[in-house]
C-alpha cells in the first residue's frame, strides 16, 4: 500500500489563503449584519468575487476550498456569491455547444446568474415525486408547474428545471419520464416570489416560482428527453460535496470564534479541563469532517464519484457543524447572544436540509451498502 498524501497542491493552498484574506476583508461585520437583517442579495460582493477570479471550473478544488474559507467567515454571503453559478456542472456535462455558449459561459464570466429548480411544494426530498409538467407542442414545449425553495430564484437569469414529460411507466420507475430544461426567468408565465423570514442564510435569495403556460424552445432541453432524473442525481453528487465544504467552513468558523472568545478571557478559564476537552472534541470532529469531504471530492473531481461517500460527507459534515455550534454555546453561554456565533448557529441548520436532507443521505448510504450484500450473495 502506498502512502496517502493529505496535502493539497500548492496552487489550491494559495487559493485558500487568498479566499480567506478576501473574505476577512470584504465580508465586514457591518455587511454581514446588513444582509442578515435585510435579506438582500449581496450582488456587489458577488461581482467582486468574480473580479478576484474565485469562480472557475478549471480546478474544482479551488472552488471547494474557497467555499470552505468563505463560509468560515460568513456562510450567507459566502454561499450566495459562489452559488451564483449554481447548476453549471449540468451544462458542462450534458449541455450542447449552443447551450454552453448562450448560458454557461456568460454565467462563468459573472454576466448571468443561474439556479436549479427541482424542489416543489409537495416534493422536497422525493425528486421523482415532482408534478410540474413539460409537454411537447407543435413548436416546442409547454411548461406548467410550481417550484419551491429555489436558491437564486428571483435573481437568476435562468433555471435548470426538472419537470415531468411523461407518466411513470410503473410505481417502481417513478424516476422515469422526467426531463431537464433551461428556462429563463424573464419569459412570459414565469413568476418568482422571494421567500423572506428564513432562520438563517438570509443573504441567500430563496423563492417560490410558478410557471404558467411557459413556452420552452426545443433547443433548451438538456440531455435526453425523459432522462432528467439521472442528470440531476449526477449533479447532486457534485453539489453535495460543496455543501459538505460549506458545513466544514461553518464549523471551522465557530471554532475560530470560540478561540477568539477564549483568548479574550483570563487564562484560568481555558485552563479548565472541561473547556479543554470540549475544544479537543470540536477540533477532532471538524478534522474528520474535512477529511471525509476531501475524500469524497477526490472521487468526484476525478470523474469516479462514489455516491455513498458523497452522502456520508454531506451528512456527517452537516451533523458536525450543528454539533459544534451547540458545544460552543455551552461554553460561551449568554455572551454569545447577538454575536457572530449566534448567526452561525442559525446558518448551520440549513446544511441538514438542503441538497438532500440528512435522512435522504442516510438512505443513499444504506442502499449502496446493502447492494454489497447482494453482490456477496
Amino acid at each position: 500500500m502506498s502512502d496517502l498524501s493529505f496535502e493539497l497542491p500548492q496552487e489550491v493552498e494559495e487559493t485558500r489563503k487568498r479566499a480567506r484574506d478576501f473574505a476577512l476583508r470584504e465580508f465586514t461585520n457591518e455587511l454581514i449584519e446588513h444582509f442578515d437583517e435585510t435579506e438582500e442579495y449581496p450582488n456587489e460582493i458577488r461581482k467582486k468575487v468574480f473580479d478576484a477570479g474565485f469562480i472557475t471550473i478549471e480546478n474544482p478544488w479551488n472552488m471547494l476550498v474557497t467555499m470552505e474559507e468563505f463560509c468560515r467567515v460568513d456562510p450567507g454571503i459566502g454561499l450566495s456569491t459562489l452559488a451564483s453559478v449554481f447548476g453549471s456542472e449540468i451544462l458542462l456535462l450534458y449541455g450542447t455547444d449552443e447551450q454552453k455558449e448562450k448560458y454557461l459561459y456568460p454565467t462563468l464570466k459573472g454576466e448571468k446568474i443561474s439556479a436549479v429548480a427541482v424542489t416543489e411544494p409537495g416534493a422536497g426530498s422525493d425528486v421523482a415525486g415532482i408534478s410540474s409538467r413539460i409537454e411537447k407542442t407543435e413548436k416546442g414545449w409547454m411548461l406548467n408547474g410550481h417550484k419551491m425553495f429555489i436558491t437564486n430564484g428571483t435573481v437568476a437569469d435562468h433555471y435548470y428545471l426538472l419537470a415531468r414529460s411523461a407518466p411513470p411507466p410503473s410505481k417502481e420507475k417513478r424516476h422515469h419520464g422526467l426531463t431537464l430544461a433551461i428556462v429563463e426567468r424573464r419569459w412570459n408565465g414565469v413568476n418568482p416570489v422571494k421567500l423572506k423570514g428564513k432562520l438563517g442564510m438570509r443573504a441567500t435569495d430563496t423563492a417560490e416560482i410558478t410557471f404558467e403556460n411557459v413556452a420552452v424552445p426545443n433547443e433548451n432541453i438538456v440531455g435526453e428527453e425523459g432522462k432528467g432524473f439521472y442528470i440531476i442525481m449526477t449533479f447532486f453528487n457534485i453539489s453535495r460535496v460543496y455543501v459538505a465544504a460549506q458545513s466544514v467552513g461553518t464549523a471551522q468558523g465557530i471554532l475560530d470564534l470560540l478561540l477568539e472568545y477564549l483568548a479574550e478571557k483570563p487564562a484560568s478559564f481555558r485552563e479548565m479541563e472541561y473547556v479543554q476537552f470540549a475544544l479537543a472534541e470540536i477540533s477532532a470532529l471538524i478534522e474528520a469532517a474535512r477529511n471525509i469531504t476531501y475524500k469524497a471530492a477526490t472521487k468526484v473531481f476525478s470523474f469516479n464519484p462514489d455516491p455513498a461517500l458523497t452522502s456520508m460527507a454531506k451528512y456527517y459534515a452537516a451533523e458536525i457543524a450543528n454539533q459544534v455550534a451547540n458545544t460552543a454555546f455551552k461554553i460561551v453561554g449568554i455572551e454569545a447572544s447577538g454575536s457572530k456565533l449566534e448567526k452561525l448557529y442559525r446558518d448551520a441548520k440549513i446544511t441538514e436540509i438542503w441538497e438532500g436532507t440528512s435522512e435522504i443521505e442516510k438512505l443513499v448510504i444504506s442502499r449502496m451498502i446493502l447492494k454489497k450484500i447482494q453482490e456477496v450473495k
Binding site: 426530498s125 432562520l199 483570563p266 472541561y274 453561554g333 455572551e335 447572544s337 441548520k349 436540509i353
Partner: protein, 337 residues
C-alpha cells in the same frame, strides 16, 4: 383555566406576539389570572399557588407561547419573589402583580465573568450587556462592591436594544447605570449568594418552560408527519421518523413526572439541564421533519429552535451548574481541575 386561556388567547396570536411584543392586554390577563405574583402568599398580594402548580402553569403557557411563559416567570419569580424576600416592598409588588408596571432582574450570574455594574458608597455605575426586558419600569440590579454585593432598585440612564436569538416578544439588550442611590433603594445585602440560591431553587420552573416548548414542538412535528407525504407515504409511516417522535414523547413524559418529584435543589438543577437539552433536541427534530418549511418563520417551527437555545443561554451556565451539583453529590473537591 390556564389551558383555556393559553389555547384561546395565545395560540392563534403567538406569531403576532413574537413580532409585536407582549401587549398591555396580555399583561392584564396574566394579572387577572393572578400569575404575575402567583407564588406569593395572599397576605402579600399574591395568589398563593404552590410551586408545583406554578410549574404546571408555566409548562402549559410555554406550549402556546414560550415568550409569555418566560415573561410570567420573570415577573413572578425573578422580580416579585425577590421583592418579597426583601420585605416592605408592597407597593412595587402590587404594581407588577397588577400588570400596571413591569420589572426585570439585572445580574451576571450566568456569565463566565462578571459584568461591570458596581456600587461605591452610594454611587451606582456601569453596564450589563445581557439584560432581558431592559425597558422594564423597575430594574433590580445586582451591583458589586469590594464586599458584599447589593441588590438595588435603579433606573438605567441608557438602554440599547438588540435583536435576541429567541423570545423575540421580550426586549433584550444593554442597560447602563450612573446614579446616586438613596439608602432605601438598596433592598438586599449579600445579594450574590441569595440570588444564586434563588436561581438554583427555582430551576424546576425553567425545566417546566423547556418541557412545554418540547411538547409543543413534538406535537407540531407529529401533526405535520400526518399531513405531509414523501415517496407516496405519510412521513409518520417511515420508521426513523416514528421512532424519533415516539422517543421524544417518552422522554418528555418521563421528565414531566420528574418535575413533580424533584424535592432537592440538586435534582432541580439537573432536571433543568436535562429539560433544556431535550428542548434543543426536540426543536431540532421538529425543524428537520418540517424540512424547508420549518426553516421559514411562517410555520412557527424555527421559533422553537431559537427559543430553546435562548432559554438555555438565559437560564443556565452549564459549567457553573454542573460544578455546583458535582460538589454536592460527589465531593466538595469535585470539579476542581
Amino acid at each position: 383555566m390556564i389551558e383555556q386561556f393559553a389555547k384561546e388567547e395565545l395560540e392563534n396570536v403567538a406569531q403576532k406576539i413574537e413580532k409585536e411584543g407582549i401587549s398591555k392586554d396580555i399583561r392584564k390577563r396574566l394579572a387577572e389570572l393572578g400569575l404575575l405574583a402567583a407564588t406569593l402568599p395572599q397576605s402579600e398580594n399574591g395568589s398563593g399557588i404552590d410551586r408545583r402548580s406554578f410549574s404546571l402553569v408555566l409548562m402549559t403557557i410555554a406550549k402556546y407561547s414560550a415568550s409569555v411563559a418566560y415573561f410570567t416567570y420573570l415577573q413572578n419569580t425573578l422580580v416579585n419573589e425577590i421583592l418579597s424576600k426583601a420585605q416592605k416592598r408592597k407597593e412595587e409588588i402590587i404594581k407588577i402583580a397588577s400588570g400596571e408596571s413591569t420589572g426585570t432582574l439585572v445580574h451576571d450570574l450566568n456569565l463566565n465573568f462578571p459584568q461591570e455594574v458596581y456600587i461605591k458608597g452610594y454611587e451606582l455605575y456601569g453596564s450589563n450587556s445581557f439584560v432581558i426586558l431592559p425597558d422594564a419600569d423597575l430594574h433590580l440590579v445586582l451591583a458589586r462592591s469590594e464586599s458584599p454585593s447589593y441588590l438595588i432598585m435603579a433606573n438605567p440612564v441608557k438602554i440599547e436594544k438588540k435583536k435576541p436569538l429567541g423570545f423575540r416578544a421580550i426586549s433584550f439588550g444593554v442597560a447602563s447605570y450612573k446614579q446616586t442611590i438613596e439608602e432605601d433603594r438598596i433592598i438586599l445585602k449579600d445579594a450574590d449568594s441569595l440570588l444564586k440560591s434563588h436561581f438554583f431553587d427555582t430551576s424546576d420552573q425553567i425545566a417546566a418552560i423547556a418541557l412545554g416548548m418540547s411538547e409543543s414542538a413534538v406535537e407540531k412535528a407529529i401533526e405535520y408527519s400526518k399531513e405531509r407525504k414523501a415517496f407516496e407515504s405519510y412521513l409518520y409511516e417511515f420508521q426513523p421518523i416514528s421512532a424519533v417522535l415516539t422517543d421524544m414523547k417518552g422522554r418528555i413524559e418521563e421528565m414531566k413526572k420528574a418535575l413533580m418529584l424533584s424535592e432537592v435543589v440538586q435534582d432541580r438543577i439537573l432536571l433543568k439541564l436535562n429539560a433544556l437539552e431535550l428542548s434543543r433536541l426536540a426543536s431540532r427534530v421538529a425543524l428537520q421533519i418540517h424540512g424547508g418549511y420549518g426553516y421559514l418563520e411562517d410555520l412557527g417551527v424555527e421559533r422553537y429552535y431559537r427559543d430553546s437555545m435562548f432559554l438555555t443561554m438565559l437560564s443556565s451556565n452549564y459549567i457553573k451548574d454542573i460544578k455546583t451539583v458535582s460538589k454536592e453529590i460527589i465531593s466538595p473537591d469535585a470539579f476542581k481541575i
